[in-house]
């Protein structure tokens, strides 16, 4: 390959080196294009350079251009080409380097600018050809390759929102195979906006592919995974408590193998279990925080600690975590809400779906003899509001039940809206059951205060501004309902232009939320990063 100047040479070499290291193959067209661009730049320079330097380069050019011209026909495999290209590049660079120092003083600022511009255009053109090739080839190109061209920082996207990328799926399959966990296959047609997420069917549980007396995965975890995928354990708090309960059983049945340390081995044992639970149902933010806490506790166990002592310590840690972060936090939030007159006599409170924390607050307020009534808003397909309604009416609270389509009709009566949260994101957005943001929006339009109740262990440092990027797709068959013997959506898979979408979560912007009640007090939505920072400092 001919190199016109030192400035271009290393740049071209870098590009080619990068291309070679990323495993991309330079096709004939690309090589020809690069050669053409170099020739063009050389021509620009030749017009401005001295004759002596031109003669020097011209001498080199036929030599080196003849070489690559003969190279492609002689090389049967394309793989040799990238290795040959840099091989010729260093050959020609020292040759041209000898001539270049003589050229340098003759180049003006304008010439340098022109060269730089030409180089940038050449790089842009070659980048486009590269991008075209990645679209065609199913090579080992990583999704971060394009961003890394633009910036040095590599951004890693989580696997569960890249389901439409076959390489990520391959990596996931390999990882699960290593951990001996079956891969759950997606089901049904996915709406295009959400095709980057997993969608599973409840009728194909993961246990189909496991051996029945499960030996690879602890039975308590298999049971938990089944309960997650069937929806028997649903709700952020319930899932975390059940997870910690299962981990307690795992720790109890654990024995350290020979030559291993409990602090390292137990964490490795937990990894396949967490993958398994993730396959059954994507982990919630609260579960993620609980897992982080346990892993930290396990790795903090000193190596001289005896096994029984260590296990007891861990079990106590789990107990205290549940006690502090879930039970006592709930009590504190209820106390806060009631004493600070957030629930006063004559209030009409609107709740959405079934949040264990909000139900707890309302029941406690009723016990303290506050006079209020509740409006329960519900939505399909989960119809969780019915369960919330049952719990409140059992206590004796007078309730009204509406569907979410009636929310704007009922809002003029409402004095406050209490919402539960699945997680609070670092930019102040509230992630909760789908429909929550709608209610917050309508409440804002009616000037009704919206209060979100959330324990601090659900705060996560993710940032999201829309509900598309990261969400959960539930079983689309849940949307099918049979009324009066007819099932209109039966056989929806056979309709090519029909897709069923069953979203689980959505995010509410902080403008619609007036107050967040946590066990640390009542904070505005935008103070979430402060709480997170303080928590990190504590730990």
């Amino acid at each position: 390959m001919a190199d016109s100047g030192v400035i271009d040479g290393p740049g071209r070499k870098d590009e080619i080196e990068r291309a070679k290291s990323e495993g991309k193959d330079l096709t004939k067209e690309e090589k020809q294009r690069l050669r053409k661009e170099k020739k063009q730049q050389k021509k620009i320079k030749e017009k401005k350079d001295d004759k002596a330097s031109q003669e020097n380069e011209k001498e080199k050019k036929p030599v080196t251009s003849a070489a690559p011209a003969s190279q492609p026909p002689t090389q049967p495999t394309v793989q040799k080409a990238p290795s040959a290209v840099p091989a010729t590049a260093p050959v020609s660079v020292p040759a041209s380097e000898a001539s270049v120092p003589a050229d340098k003083p003759t180049k003006t600022k304008a010439e340098l600018k022109a060269e730089r511009r030409a180089r940038q255009e050449a790089e842009r053109a070659s980048k486009q050809t590269k991008k075209g090739e990645t679209g065609q080839q199913a090579a080992t190109s990583k999704p971060k390759a394009p961003p890394s061209d633009l910036q040095p920082v590599v951004k890693r996207l989580p696997e569960h929102i890249q389901v439409d990328n076959p390489d990520v799926l391959k990596k996931l399959a390999k990882k699960l195979e290593r951990q001996q966990i079956p891969l759950r296959s997606d089901y049904g047609y996915k709406v295009s906006l959400f095709s980057h997420l997993h969608q599973y069917s409840r009728k194909a549980p993961l246990t189909q592919q496991l051996s029945i007396p499960s030996t690879v995965i602890h039975p308590a975890i298999v049971r938990l995974g089944l309960q997650y995928s069937h929806g028997i354990v649903a709700g952020s708090n319930a899932r975390s408590v059940a997870l910690l309960h299962a981990f307690k059983q795992v720790i109890r049945d654990y024995t350290t193998p020979q030559n291993e340390e409990l602090s390292r081995d137990l964490v490795n044992k937990l990894k396949p279990y967490i993958s398994f639970l993730n396959q059954c149902r994507p982990l919630s933010a609260s579960m993620g925080n609980a897992i982080k806490y346990i892993k930290k506790e396990i790795s903090n166990i000193p190596s001289n600690c005896k096994e029984d002592e260590a296990k007891n310590k861990l079990l106590n840690c789990i107990e205290s975590y549940i006690n502090e972060k879930i039970i006592l936090a709930g009590v504190a939030i209820a106390k806060c809400a009631i004493e600070k007159q957030k629930i006063s006599d004559g209030d009409v409170i609107l709740v959405y779906g079934c949040s264990s924390l909000v139900n707890h607050i309302l029941c406690k307020a009723f016990e303290k003899n506050r006079k209020f009534r509740v409006i329960v808003v519900d939505s399909r397909p989960r119809l969780e509001g019915k369960e919330a309604l049952r719990r409140l009416v059992q206590k004796g609270i007078s309730c009204t039940y509406v569907l979410i389509s009636a929310v704007s009709y009922i809002l003029p009566e409402v004095s406050k809206v209490f919402l539960g949260a699945h997680a609070l994101l670092a930019n102040g957005y509230v992630m909760s059951r789908v429909g929550t943001s709608q209610i917050a929006l309508v409440a804002k339009a009616f000037n009704v205060p919206v209060l979100v109740c959330c324990e601090t262990y659900k705060f996560c440092d993710r940032v999201q501004t829309d509900s598309f990027v990261s969400n959960e797709l539930d079983d689309p068959d849940d949307l099918i309902v049979t009324r009066k013997g007819t099932t209109p959506l039966e056989g929806w898979e056979n309709e090519s232009s029909l897709g069923l979408l069953n979203l689980v979560y959505d995010v509410t912007p902080p403008d619609f939320v007036d107050l967040v009640i946590t066990e640390l007090g009542m904070i505005p939505c935008t103070s979430v990063p402060v709480v997170l920072r303080v928590k990190n400092v504590d730990q």
Partner: protein, 447 residues
Amino acid sequence: MELQAVLMAAGGGSRMTDLTYNTPKAMLPVGNKPLMWYPLNLLEKVGFEEVIVITTKEVQKAMSTDLKIKDVKMKLDVVSIQEDGDMGTADALRHIQPKIKTDILVLSCDLITDVALHEVVDLFRAHNATMAMLMSKAHEFTETVPGQKGKKKTAEQRDFVGVDKSGKRLLFMANEADLEDGLSIRKSIMRKHPRMLIKTGLVDAHLYCLKKAVVDFLTENKSISSIRGELVPYLVRKQFSKTVNSQKLKDDTDDQTQEKNDGPLLISSRDEPLLQLAQERSCWNDHRGDMSEAYHGGKLRCYVHIMDQGLCCRVNTLAAYIEVNRLAPKLFEEPSVHPSADISERCQMGSDSIIGAVCHIADKTSIKRSTIGNFTTVKEKVKVTNSIIMHGVTIEEGCNIQGSVICSNAVIGRGADLKYCLVGNGQHIEPEGKREGELSYQTEQPN
């Protein structure tokens, strides 16, 4: 360890004595494999590594010589019990109670099925059930049974099974024999489950997942002797009994002897408060429309998985035996002719016949829809249709065998004509004998 498998192979086959008076039921050949191989194969396919086999000494001896059973890769822990027949299945469980360390999966040796076992076990796991069982829709037997005059349907005692509207929770289970005054259902059940479906056309596959607590309960209650006849209806009834549902019983104190007996049944797992907390916080309920929590607060739950497709057959009558010989080979992808069989080229063999090992089939024979056992000799000009020939049988020339069952080591004389007959072990049918719809036994007179 999650589940231990227990195979009950001590049954006597009381409803098909014609076949079992010489061969124990567990070793009857079905498709040239012993009957008990089928449930063992099911367990092996699913991933079990050990099975506790409860059987008699006779069967144990036969097992040690049988090739197919030696092929089984699982570890078989054989427990032999007395043959007098007084020990019921629940008594057998009580007998092996020291070996039981976790929940158990109880199978009967006469079950041939291709069910996806995870369906039953998932119900057991997900709902933390005390019992989960398998049932199947019964199919009519179409083949003519030897010894039955015409298509007389034996008056089998029907089972009445009540399930809730999801079809998974078992609410009611009784046999026709126990319901003399009619079927009565308690109001408490109707209040909790207003929609109940009662089915009668179901076959109990005798496949039960039981909690370990049930086995402990059996050791304390020695009066229960049969799983199917007594234990299962008892558990189903106990789901709705008042003592089980009352809140105070969570600490299972032993105030009354009744509670003491049920104590083991209510212990589900340690950390009960955490599970309770998780259930409280979860927004799930198994029913809608009344004020009670999930499962109506009941600790004891029984579930059933009803198969509507696929094969599920219990081989406890002659009709079932004949039916299953027709269907069972289709479950496996094995060649219908054993490689060591010597079949002459002029033999007409249908594609749905099975020939066993080391057989000699001579010329001009016609074998259609039949099973021929190992070491059998079939001479020329024999026509075998729709029949089951067991091991070591000799069939002389010119015989015509239709719709019959010939047991092991029998000899069928030349030119015999058998229609819908059952020939017992080691029997000789005289040459030119003509039998129709008869059963030959050890008795001297051909009857």
